[in-house]
């Protein structure tokens, strides 16, 4: 044991065995139990199921809070604890054990997930009240929370992968909960395919870790980084980035997030704002040792973040669907986090900081959007909203707090976290610092513009553009209370965490020397100016002026942004077309099995598959010929070789 601690001590935090981590399994077990009861219990649990699920989710939060308080009572170096659950694969050259790692980083996530998750459970009690199948919905919600907790509490990449796949599965189940819409099938397929690319990246990365380090738990990998070559680390880092891009909707795997908005709104709030999409950031931050050993991979992370943050912001400016605009904004904000995570040690803490505040204010805004839709007969087109502030006071205020937070207006949450990212980006120095810094600064301005546009088009403006027969009304208390709680978080969380020294709290996880924090006042002023400019522009265009009920043609940029910057066209041109041409050239039989929309790779594989299928023509003599070919080929190859 002593040697283990010593070996870990070189990497900053030392994880003590047991301790406050001893009960961490309860965090996962409680919601998992809920899912099991609701799914296996069937209709018998219809009555109390949703309430039970909500209760268990809160119970999980309570356990998290207790562990958190215990942690606070310990010294900074004793806060990381490890609990071995069981010896997974005990034999052979490679040993694997499954365990939970409770440290400052994972606890931050645990609290976010269980708290926001539980609030969304409560909100869903109201939102899904009339759904005949809400038991299943709550079971999936619990399943999701459990999987997400596995993801963040895992002590090895492998167990993380379990959670990774688990949240993927649960999110499909939740997005697909309402699949009445036939067009949705395509979207689900896209989300599905893009995520498989990401998962493939992660699984190959894990395999390479095996090959390189012989182990895949975080402690051993971190310890082994010194002995590995930069090439290996770069490869692993880039593959991890692919995984992160898939899960977190980062460029170039961003296309699925907008389409995934087809699911119920609480799901979007939970999965596509607060938790699952941030798993990529978690992965990168958790793998900091690898990225520090591979500067090129780290740079790639920052570049991906920068591209995505601008991309999401530009797309957000043109979207009229309130949920899709929020999705674009999520993409952009996660871009900020990625960028911060790619900055190296100065950025990690702020990436997580922003992740937490974003989790609150974005979830709050999604719930607000859900509340608006609830009151407007599921209308999502912002051009059919306007001046809702009167009819939906609570929603307006809570959404407004979220809006202020994302803009980064002091003293609201975003100011404390986003501003730090901008500062850190500039602080990197050199050309890189300037480019990344400018990207974040411009991003902040555009964010101010499109979020204000969204807010004004929905709640303010010159007139009401509602379709006939709309009677907007405030949502029930089960929905508004969670919104209020989240909006308080949007308002205050940033300040609280900043003054409580969140960065220092996280520091032991990453090791290295502590960075002196000094605020760059001129930069802060410039940032605020840029934000104010964006806000004023939006005010002038969307509050003072009339907003047409139908989207105008717009200029080229608007059109491009509206079409998601032609992401589908580009995907099609780059991946699908060649795939399809290849397929056409190769295919002799039908391609019905291939879902062309799933992407070019699938089309290529499908084409290959169809071509191979031709060999399976049902004639025995042809099969025998195939066998003979194999015999001759193998004998021939060996004959040539020997």
């Amino acid at each position: 044991m002593h040697t283990l601690i010593q070996s870990l001590a070189t990497e900053g935090a030392a994880a003590t065995e047991g301790g406050h981590a001893a009960y961490a399994w309860l965090l996962i077990a409680l919601p998992a139990l809920g899912a099991a009861i609701l799914l296996l219990g069937g209709k018998r649990t219809n009555k109390f199921g949703p309430a039970l699920a909500t209760g268990l989710s809160w119970a999980s939060f309570a356990v998290g809070a207790v562990i958190f308080v215990t942690m606070l009572g310990l010294g900074a170096e004793e806060r990381a604890a490890h609990a071995e659950l069981w010896n997974w694969i005990p034999a052979g050259q490679f040993q694997l054990s499954a365990g939970l790692l409770v440290d400052q980083l994972s606890m931050s996530f645990v609290l976010l997930i269980t708290f926001v998750g539980s609030l969304i459970h409560v909100y869903s009690l109201g939102y899904m009240e009339h759904d005949p199948d809400k038991r299943r919905f709550f079971a999936y919600l619990n399943l999701f929370v459990a999987s997400m907790l596995v993801l963040v509490l895992a002590d090895s990449y492998l167990l993380l992968f379990v959670g990774w796949e688990g949240v993927g599965l649960a999110s499909y189940l939740l997005i697909g909960f309402w699949n009445h819409n036939p067009a949705y099938a395509t979207a689900a397929n896209k989300a599905f395919f893009v995520n498989r690319v990401g998962d493939l990246g992660l699984s190959i990365a894990i395999m390479m870790m095996f090959a390189t380090f012989g182990k895949v738990d975080f402690a051993s990998v971190n310890a082994g980084v010194d002995g590995a070559s930069t090439t290996q680390l770069t490869a692993i880092g880039l593959l991890l980035l692919v995984g992160a891009c898939g899960k977190s909707a980062q460029f170039p795997l961003q296309s699925w997030l907008g389409d995934a908005m087809a699911g119920p709104t609480p799901v979007s709030a939970l999965i596509h704002a607060a938790t699952m999409v941030t798993a990529g950031v978690y992965l990168v931050v958790r793998s900091h040792a690898i990225f520090e050993g591979a500067p090129n991979a780290q740079l790639a992370v920052a570049i991906v973040g920068a591209i995505t943050l601008l991309y999401g912001a530009i797309v957000g400016c043109a979207k009229d669907d309130i949920k899709k605009a929020l999705a674009a904004s999520t993409m952009s904000q996660i871009g900020y986090m990625m960028l911060a995570a790619g900055l190296g040690p100065i950025g990690y803490a702020f990436a997580i900081f922003h992740l937490l505040t974003h989790g609150f204010f974005k979830a709050g805004m999604f719930l607000g959007a859900g509340s608006v839709m609830h009151g407007m007969n599921d209308q999502v087109d912002m051009r059919r909203f306007g001046r809702l502030s009167g009819a939906m006071k609570v929603t307006w205020v809570t959404f407004g707090l979220g809006w202020l937070a994302i803009l980064g207006i002091p003293p609201f949450a975003g100011f404390w976290s986003k501003d730090k990212i901008i500062e850190s980006a500039f602080a990197v120095g050199g050309t890189r610092g300037w480019i990344l810094g400018l990207a974040t600064l411009i991003g902040a301005g555009i964010t101010a513009f499109y979020m204000s546009r969204l807010f004004f088009m929905t709640f303010h403006g010159k007139e009401k553009r509602w379709t006939d027969g709309q009677h907007p009304h405030e949502s029930p208390a089960t929905m508004t209370v969670p919104m209020i709680v989240l909006s308080i978080g949007s308002g205050l969380l940033g300040m609280i965490l900043a003054f409580a020294g969140f960065a220092q709290w996280l520091h032991p996880v990453f090791g290295g020397e502590e960075h002196e924090e000094h605020t760059n006042w001129p930069l802060m002023a410039i940032t605020l100016l840029v934000v104010a400019a964006g806000l004023l522009l939006a005010y002038w265009r969307y509050w003072r002026e009339e907003v047409p009920k139908r989207a105008p043609e717009g200029n080229l940029l608007t059109q491009a942004a509206r079409a998601d910057l032609y992401q589908d066209a580009i995907n099609e041109g780059l991946f699908m077309r060649p795939g399809i041409h290849l397929t056409r050239a190769l295919v002799f039989t039908d391609t019905k099995g291939v879902d062309a929309t799933a992407g070019g790779l699938a089309a290529t594989i499908g084409g290959f598959s169809s071509r191979l299928r031709r060999l399976q023509n049902g004639y025995v003599r042809s099969y025998a010929l195939t066998m003979l070919t194999g015999v001759v080929a193998v004998l021939g190859v060996l004959w040539v070789m020997n």
Partner: protein, 259 residues
């Protein structure tokens, strides 16, 4: 004591060897099943001769007994059941199948020839020493009932499986009671058709084989008179030529009488 083959054996080999190969090629390429079977018989007999030439008399005789005797007979029985004339369609519908097969067969042959040709073989063991000691029959018996007794016993499982499989796949059990002659005639009377029985096959006294349909009074053949098995097999002969012959005779008689 050298085990190298003598001159006589070499001559025998170089004459019969190609014949055996020809026989086996005939098995593959012959269009008629009977020819294929005969080609196989040729190969098997030649193999038997080779064994005998190599002093393995027992094996040689068994080879001839089992393959040309038992196995060939079975083949011929099957051929008789299927019909000697029946042959499969030989039109190749798959494009390139034959060409590819030819190329690959030559390739495999070439590879194996190259590999086997490169081998320097040691002195052949031969069976002379065994023949001198215990005789190869006892030696083989000792192997079969000694070292390989397990394989020998397990083979019985194979035979039982084969018998069981043949029963499962080919034996049709009679479902319900079959009709006897009494039932049939009752049925005929009750239905009022063919009360006197179905017409017997054959055309007058000229030809009374079962494959020739009888003629009705108006001179048309009746399919009722031949077994439907023969009809299905397309082995029914037409009575026309007998009818024609009869007409000819009738004409001659008429001619003669009018003369």
């Amino acid at each position: 004591m050298s085990n190298a083959p003598g001159t006589g054996e070499a001559v025998l080999f170089w004459i019969l060897g190609p014949l055996a190969v020809l026989g086996s090629l005939g098995l593959i390429f012959a269009k008629k099943a009977v020819h294929a079977a005969l080609g196989m018989a040729l190969t098997m007999i030649i193999l038997g001769i080779f064994y005998i030439a190599q002093d393995a008399h027992f094996l040689g005789v068994i080879q001839v007994f089992v393959y040309t005797g038992a196995v060939m007979m079975l083949f011929l029985f099957v051929l008789m059941l299927v019909g000697v004339d029946s042959s499969d369609g030989l039109l190749e519908t798959l494009k390139g199948q034959r060409l590819a097969t030819a190329v690959l067969v030559l390739g495999l042959g070439g590879l194996l020839t190259a590999a086997l040709g490169s081998v320097t073989y040691p002195e052949p063991a031969g069976v002379k020493s065994i023949n001198e000691e215990t005789g190869n029959v006892s030696a083989m018996a000792e192997l079969i009932f000694g070292r390989y007794v397990w394989v020998f016993e397990v083979t019985s499982a194979l035979l039982i499986t084969a018998a069981l499989g043949a029963m499962v796949l080919a034996h049709r059990e009679r479902l319900g009671k079959g009709r006897n002659q009494r039932d049939w005639s009752k049925r005929r009377v009750l239905r009022g058709e063919y009360v006197a029985g179905l017409p017997a096959p054959g055309v007058y006294a000229r030809h009374n084989a079962v494959d020739t349909p009888a003629l009705l009074p108006d001179g048309t053949p009746t399919p009722l008179s031949v077994s439907r098995v023969l009809t299905a097999r397309d082995q029914v002969t037409t009575p026309e030529r007998y009818v024609e012959a009869e007409d000819r005779i009738a004409g001659q008689i008429e001619e003669d009488s009018s003369r």
